[in-house]
Amino acid sequence: MFDNFVVPDFLPAAPEIFLAVMAMSILMIDLLVKDSRRTVTFALSILTLLGCAVIQLMTSSGEIIYTFSNMFVDDLMSDLLKLFLYMTVIVVLFYSRGYINDRPEMNKGEYYVLTLFATLGMMVMISANHFVSLYIGLELLSLSLYVMVAMNRDSVTSTEAAMKYFVLGALASGLLLYGMSMIYGATGSLEITAIAERLYGGGVNNTVLVFGLVFLVAGLAFKLGVVPFHMWIPDVYHGAPTSVTLLISTAPKLAAFAIVMRLLVNGLITMSADWQNMLIILSVLSMAIGNLAAIAQTNLKRMLAYSAISHMGFMLLGIVTGVVSGDARYALNAYSSAMFYVIAYVLMSLGTFGMILLMARAGFEADNIDDFKGLNKRSPWFAAIMMMLMFSMAGVPFFIGFFAKFSVLQAVVAAGYTWLALVAVLFSLIGAFYYLRVVKVMYFDAPEDETPIMAGTDMRWLISANGLAVAFLGLFPQVIMSLCAYALLRSL
């Protein structure tokens, strides 16, 4: 019965296995921990993620290794994305700690365990080479997040956000699965690399394939949160507890980028002409709707939600311009610029939501733009950090956001889509307005609330480091840029 059973190579998946074991152990250990001693759970979670990073670094070979019957792939792109993922989640946990300590209903061990399971889901997504493993990772992430959004049980907005997220998320998963089944029907395989080979060989029913592709792109667009599949983003960002918004707005973007790369570039590159045109429409619409709608917001979380939509639209430009009429010369340049964009965005988004958490205290969410009024009077240092983050988001140098936009734009111009670059810069001009408004509120207006900022020391140091990183990486973006380019060169 076990004649055909081959023991898979576990080593490439060692971080995932370690994280899964640790997450389940923490779930058990937490039963013995009192609410007042939640620091134990917190410390264990951080150590687990650090352990993952160490294992990742130790097991990384730089080669493309398939395992578990080609369902799982370990390459440099996944290594790099996962390392950023661990870093992001560690920062998220540090930022969240003060916030959930002030809110007893959220200060549960499940908060940490669910975060770890969501991380595991993202890791599986990043390394997926098979529709099934990809879907499992995605659902593990989504289900963990649905629960976390609803964790603040007494809040009507949180519950509503969780419902919306769940219903629309399930719909999107359905779309994705439907698209996958069509592609399976056309190619006879669920394995991404095998699909690519089958398509390369030709003789595949194109109608079924394109039909499937449309659903696949729609599903991906939902997960990325680009127009017209963006409806959930503002409500979920707004309704979720800020610490959960912080998680949703950062780490999953890395995973979403990875599955876009896996599905569209690794799997369906021969159909690039079809999906690129779809992505152009999604991208332009996202930049338009995201930037225009953000102007009207008074809630900072909601504004940042629309800004996230526009940023994801901008990032897609890098994916769109990889292959120009069958010529893949620019592919590496374009995809690595998109990857750099995602990483830069995650760093900035960490900082901005971190600032909201810094300002928040028990019974006060600090999520309205007006809550930042006169911050320069209350704390010039944190006002400066927030200002740097806002200018970085707007794409003003010397901050990392500028080089993120710069690298994507140069890919767009290099591919000959000058009109697309023009559209992108015009919408960034509109986008600059609402970021400037936050700076205006902090610097030009008088404070209404003189309460001192009560965040802990670790939070203060970490958010300062985060803000300075945005400035420092804006001065020296080379390292991350070339890391992205190198990782993709060895992975594509």
Binding site: P380, F391, V425, S482
Partner: protein, 494 residues
């Protein structure tokens, strides 16, 4: 030639001084912040002096060049250098920074450290713009300099400061984003180089040249500002604090004009010739029409702001007649305008600090209570009108002279500015300074103190020096302007 990286010093000393001021000077320790800022500004000025003394006037190329790899992924270099066109602006900028710090000495009482730091950082960034020889480096400085100015207008400005700050930022950002696309286009088409000097030699067909030229034009015309995209300037000037107005008029406006010389003319020479008529027409509209607009202003700052636009019209007019005399005249006009407009805004600031009004109607008979001030203000109003023996005359005269050779009617239209300039400057001066003491507030005015006298005295010296003996200023320009004309007069179409 010096072995020290003088240009890096000129950029980073003010910036680090600004950061130091932020670090040590809280609001409780304002005197320390002021002293440190002044020290930083003076140090920043001193390191620029060797640029002039060590300048090789026979060399039309780049001097004091610094070159380091910055972002090899896109072949972006930290590439600095000055030629006869940019060198004087670096020094002017460092000089004006001292003036600005001194101008805010007793006046700014709130957030002193942040105020001084913003100006120092701004000064360093603007030196970066004048010295960058790499397209991205230029762009990065160009756009980053918007941030301190946005804060200066918004935090320390007048009642309508929020509107003015947003208008300033978004207007200039609009221009610079198109400029960024032009840079990327050049990067792709030059085979992956961001070096401005490489782009000067890059052959480009006429159609793309025209697109590039238009992108540059929008970016720089907003910054200059040229009619019809000038409307942000009066708002920004009126709302900005005195120091902000001085920097804006004396240096920030020069950035756009400098961009024409560094980018538009040498990179798109054929398009420049093709479209010179358009730029000349816009410049003449600025000179004549904006001159009339200045005449009817009731607010002194607005009047000087409009006169700046008219004077900058002279500058762009000079550039697009493609002769050495015209371009040098325009450059002289730029530097002279730096001194004069800075002094004019400072004079208005002096009065505003005492009376808290900029309306001409609120003044009258100031000479009776402030005689020393009235004398110096007289000099600058005359210089603003282009009186011979002041620097204002030299540049305008050179441009008009070149215009006569180019086309009589253009010269005729440009020369009306001498009349208009005299009209609006002197009429304002008459209404504000002469006559009977208009009201009890004017009667209580105190004359300028030593600090104010020193600032105006230094500016008066510069204005007269440049008016009587412009030779040291023009001699450094010759070789570089000829080099520039070589690029402009050779077609790039192959």
């Amino acid at each position: 030639m010096s072995t020290y990286p003088l240009l890096s010093f000129a950029i980073w000393i003010p910036i680090f001084a600004g950061l130091a001021v932020l670090a040590v000077g809280s609001d409780r320790n304002a005197p320390l912040a002021r002293m440190l800022a002044l020290f930083g500004a003076v140090a920043g000025f001193l390191v620029t002096i060797p640029l002039w003394t060590g300048f090789d006037v026979a060399n039309g190329g780049m001097q004091f060049v610094e070159m380091k790899t910055w972002i090899p992924r896109f072949n972006i270099n930290y590439h600095l250098g000055v030629d006869g066109i940019s060198m004087l602006f670096v020094i002017l900028n460092a000089f004006i920074t001292i003036i600005v710090i001194a101008a805010g000495w007793e006046v700014i009482k709130e957030k002193v450290a942040q105020y001084n730091a913003a100006f120092l950082i701004m000064s360093g960034l603007m030196n970066g713009i004048f010295t960058s020889l790499d397209g991205v480096l230029f762009y990065v400085f160009f756009e980053a300099s918007l941030i301190p100015m946005y804060l200066i207008i918004g935090v320390w400005g007048g009642p309508n400061r929020v509107y003015a700050a947003f208008k300033f930022f978004l207007y200039t950002l609009f221009g610079s984003l198109l400029f960024l696309l032009a840079l990327l286009y050049l990067f792709i088409n030059s085979g992956g180089s961001f070096s401005i000097l490489d782009w000067h030699k890059l052959p480009i067909e006429l159609a793309p040249q025209i697109w590039l030229f238009l992108a540059f034009l929008i970016a720089f015309a907003v910054k200059v500002p040229m009619w019809p995209v000038h409307t942000w300037l009066p708002d920004a000037h009126v709302e900005a604090p005195t120091g902000g107005s001085i920097v804006l008029a004396a240096i920030a406006l020069k950035l756009g004009a400098y961009g024409f010389l560094r980018f538009s003319l040498p990179i798109a020479p054929d398009a420049s010739h093709e479209l010179s008529g358009l730029v000349i027409a816009l410049s003449l509209i600025a000179v004549v029409y904006i001159g009339f607009v200045a005449l009817v202003q009731a607010d002194m700052k607005k009047l000087v702001a409009y006169s700046s636009i008219a004077h900058m019209g002279f500058v762009t007019l000079g550039f697009f007649m493609f002769s050495a005399l015209a371009i040098e005249g325009a450059l002289v006009q730029m530097i002279s305008h730096g001194f004069i407009s800075g002094a004019m805004f400072f004079c208005i600031g002096v009065m505003y600090d005492r009376l808290h009004s900029r309306q001409i109607a609120d003044y009258g008979g100031v000479v009776n209570t402030m005689p020393k001030f009235a004398a110096l203000f007289m000099l600058f109003s005359m210089a603003n009108a282009g009186l011979p023996a002041t620097s204002g005359f030299v540049g305008e005269f050179m441009v008009i002279l070149a215009a006569v050779k180019f086309n009589f009617w253009i010269a005729f239209a440009a020369a009306t500015s001498l009349i208009l300039g005299a009209a609006y400057s002197l009429w304002m001066y008459k209404r504000v300074v002469f006559g009977e003491i208009a009201n009890s507030h004017v009667a209580e005015l105190t004359d300028i103190n030593k600090r104010e006298f020193a600032i105006l005295g230094v500016l008066a010296f510069c204005t007269l020096w440049m008016g009587l003996y412009p030779q040291p200023f023009t001699e450094v320009m010759h070789a570089s302007v000829n080099e520039l004309l070589n690029h402009v007069n050779i077609s790039k179409i192959q």
